[in-house]
């Protein structure tokens, strides 16, 4: 929004040249710069000081603005990314509109990259002159204000989503938690025991699941999927698809009669296909909500004519074949994306035979084999014939750290869970041999290395430094071809079972959703953070926050910390009465806009839409991040960024190029 500003001819600009100790003054003759600009039209005073950002420096700016009745100032100093806010605040204190502040960068773009003092000083003069040309054309602007809807949407009901939902709800805000599966719990509920403490995964997660389901401020929507999201930070509209469960969860009393009579047998997802369930099923005993779900894809036909056995035996009459998919709409102010991960497919690594041999399993399958609630009741048995394997080979880095054919990154958790697998296997099968093939063992984490050492020293697991080239079957044995690079020996091991530590990858099932959310992802399809160090739980897209493995491989403590951090960030947002947004956005001049729509395709934030009724582009200024891509692309000059207009940029160029 612009407010009344003086005409450029009448403006009084002050120039403050910073020494930055010797950072600038060591190369640029700062006094000469101040002197050179003294008589430039529009400049009414100029001075220099050793540290403009220091308290006395700022005070000098405040006093001078008041004293000399300045209409704008230029601080020739470091990059605006560092102290623009500092000087804007100083200006505000002096009663000057903060958008009349210009930062001329004579450090990063000058003194730090040049050594010739004379030339660097000349360049500094030019840089500052160009900012004078801009400053006299700056307008007074006011931040754009917008309300915040203080409800959050959390997508994903794994440990990250649960933690984020609980924390936000405990801050006092309402949360809608959407999970696409019949129960919350995510991947963590499938794990046997967790490293490095060997806590039972279900024992530590189920209390959180119960807490979520009972929390007065959490609306739990399982077997639901987010269909679309529109709007912007503080004001999202969400359409959520309710998938028909065909069982009324309020009526279902878990008697299990339906399951007994159901004739359809389906591989059990919870047990990674190592056991079977019926088409009407409860994913696992502690599932939340505690209800049966009828899996439409495997049911004989949702009609008493076709089968209807389950409906016949359901005493509370909870089964309803006529349930339809419905859409519900919700309004939220913030969205936490906690959509988790998948494992890389074993099919991609044909040389390990994961697709061919039943006894070659991935890490999550082995978790189920180890788990007390698993298909073998916690007794380690191999899938093909139920025998207790006496020799198990674990292969790390399956698909990870393979820049050439698979995934270049380290999946981070495999070293630890493989150590855990080998240790637990040795506990369960004391006369069994566990062999781990590794390239490096990475144990950066609290008590992680101690755990790994225990696996080697106490549980006598043989770690072989080298990668496996091939796994094949001979009789009922799996033959593993590897190498020990430490002794230079090519080795062959007969194994009863092989466990592949498959890489962690993006969840394929949510890629469409992420596209709909217009949320940016990295090249591997993981949700991208706004800044790798300083803004690790925010998305680049305002109002979106990330938690857990949707963002990249991480272990449980990290996922939980990130979820809590994301919740805290949501809390920050909701603590504000209203949001303010930078006013340096790019509106559209309806008179000039031809409605070509080029800017709509250029805009990375979805801020611009073509209004078909008016034939011109419409801008949602809240979504506009002021990147200027549209302004540069607009062939008609209709898109002009506030305080960065074409006129300003050309005048800067003219000032810069004029000798």
């Amino acid at each position: 929004m612009t407010v009344k500003t003086k005409k450029k001819e009448d403006k009084r600009i002050g120039l403050f040249v910073c020494h930055c100790g010797v950072n600038i003054a060591g190369v640029v003759d700062v006094k000469k710069v101040a002197e050179a600009l003294k008589d430039t039209p529009g400049v009414s005073m100029s001075t220099d000081y050793v540290y403009m950002c220091s308290d006395p420096g700022q005070q000098m700016i405040i006093d001078t603005i008041k004293e000399k009745h300045l209409d704008g100032i230029i601080v020739a100093a470091c990059s605006p990314t560092l102290h623009e806010k500092t000087f804007q605040e100083a200006a505000r204190l002096a009663g000057l509109n903060p958008y009349q502040i210009e930062i001329a960068n004579i450090r990063e773009q000058n003194s730090w990259v040049h050594s010739d003092k004379d030339k660097a000083t000349k360049k500094a003069v030019k840089i500052v002159k160009s900012h004078v040309a801009k400053a006299i054309r700056n307008e007074n602007l006011e931040p754009i204000k917008v309300d915040v809807k203080k409800r959050a949407l959390v997508i994903g009901g794994g440990v990250s989503g649960l933690q984020a939902a609980l924390d936000i709800a405990d801050h006092g805000y309402e949360v809608i938690l959407v999970e696409k599966n019949p129960s919350i719990g995510g991947k963590m509920i499938q794990l046997s025991e967790t490293f490095p403490t060997l806590d039972c995964s279900q024992c530590i997660l189920t209390p959180k699941m119960v807490e979520v389901s009972r929390h007065p401020r959490i609306k739990l929507l399982t077997y639901h999927e987010v269909d679309s999201v529109s709007g912007f930070i503080g004001n999202f509209k969400v359409r959520i698809k309710k998938k028909p469960r065909f069982v009324d969860e309020k009526l279902c009393n878990l008697c299990g009669e339906c399951e007994k009579v159901c004739p359809q047998i389906v591989p059990d997802e919870f047990n990674m296909g190592l056991s079977f369930r019926k088409a009407i099923y409860m994913p696992f005993p502690q599932a939340i909500p505690g209800t049966y779900t009828l899996d439409e894809d495997h049911c004989l036909g949702l009609s008493p004519v076709r089968c209807g056995k389950c409906k016949d035996v359901c005493e509370p009459r909870a089964i309803d074949f006529d349930m339809k998919e419905t859409i519900i709409e919700e309004e939220v102010g913030a969205i936490v994306v906690a959509t988790g991960y998948d494992l890389y497919t074993m099919q991609a690594l044909g040389e390990f035979g994961g697709e061919k041999y039943e006894d070659v399993v991935n890490g999550l399958e082995f978790e189920r084999i180890l788990s007390a609630s698993g298909p073998t009741g916690g007794v380690v048995r191999r899938p093909s014939d139920g025998k207790v394997p006496k020799s198990v080979v674990f292969v790390q880095c399956c698909g990870s750290r393979d820049t050439e054919k698979h995934l270049p990154y380290c999946s981070k958790i495999c070293c630890m869970y493989t150590a855990k697998h080998a240790m637990l296997y040795r506990h369960r099968v004391p006369d069994g041999q566990a062999t781990v093939f590794y390239i490096d063992v990475r144990t950066g984490g609290k008590a992680f290395d101690e755990f790994y050492q225990r696996t080697v020293e106490e549980d006598k697991v043989l770690y072989i430094r080298g990668k496996v080239s091939k796994v094949f079957k001979e009789g009922d044995k799996l033959i593993v071809w590897g190498v020990d690079t430490l002794t230079g020996k090519k080795v062959e091991i007969e194994a009863d079972m092989v466990v592949l530590a498959m890489a962690m990858v993006k969840t394929d099932g949510v890629q469409d959703l992420l596209k709909k959310l217009k949320i940016s992802t990295d090249i591997h399809g993981f949700v991208a953070e706004a800044h790798p160090k300083l803004r690790p739980v925010e998305s680049l897209n305002a109002g979106f926050f990330l938690a857990g493995c949707a963002h990249g491989p991480k272990d449980i403590p990290e996922a939980v910390s990130q979820a809590s951090a994301a919740a805290a960030k949501v809390g920050d947002l909701f603590a504000q009465k209203e949001l303010s947004h930078e006013p340096t956005v790019v509106p559209v001049n309806d008179e000039l806009c031809s409605g070509c729509g080029i800017c709509v395709t250029m805009c990375p934030y979805g801020a611009r839409t073509l209004d078909p009724s008016k034939g011109v582009v419409d801008v949602n200024e809240i979504l506009c991040e002021g990147c200027g891509a549209c302004a540069a692309a607009c062939p008609c000059g209709a898109a002009q960024q506030r305080n960065q207009t074409d006129d300003q940029i050309f005048s800067m160029l003219r000032a810069m190029l004029r000798e």
Binding site: I439, S469, K470, V491
Partner: protein
């Protein structure tokens, strides 16, 4: 015996030459050993393929040039197909053979094939062998 590693340009020259001839980045190798694990000829070798590439990284030219391994590689490319870093080890082997002393003895030459054997062998094997192992 402690091996003294050369740190000067002399050692770089050797590595650069191998990289130039093979077109492979030998420093991409992180020594996972998968090449050796799958090599059909590894049991006959005095140095495993991953050790060859390690010695090249370290600039230990003499050890590499002395190795029998150079003449045990059948260029079957099994290592190439499984290398997580995309290094074609067969090319590295060929590059090392290329810089062997040109005045030295052939590792295997046409003279070593007896007339009786020659009658029996497919033509391609004689051409291939000479291409690979003779100067």
């Amino acid at each position: 015996m402690r091996v003294k590693l050369k740190a000067g340009p002399e050692q770089r020259t050797f590595i650069d030459r191998i990289e130039e001839l093979s077109g492979e980045n030998v420093f991409a190798c992180y020594q996972c050993g998968r090449c050796s694990a799958g090599c059909p000829m590894a049991s006959e070798m005095d140095l495993l393929p991953n050790q060859i590439i390690r010695l090249v990284q370290m600039g230990l030219l003499e050890d590499v040039l002395r190795s029998k391994t150079l003449f045990l590689c059948a260029s079957c490319f099994t290592c190439e197909s499984r290398c997580p870093k995309g290094i074609d080890m067969a090319r590295v082997m060929e590059a090392v053979r290329h810089i062997l002393d040109p005045k030295g003895k052939d590792a295997f030459g046409p003279g070593e094939i007896s007339p009786e054997l020659a009658k029996e062998l497919p033509q391609q094997v004689m051409v291939a062998l000479c291409r690979k192992f003779a100067k």
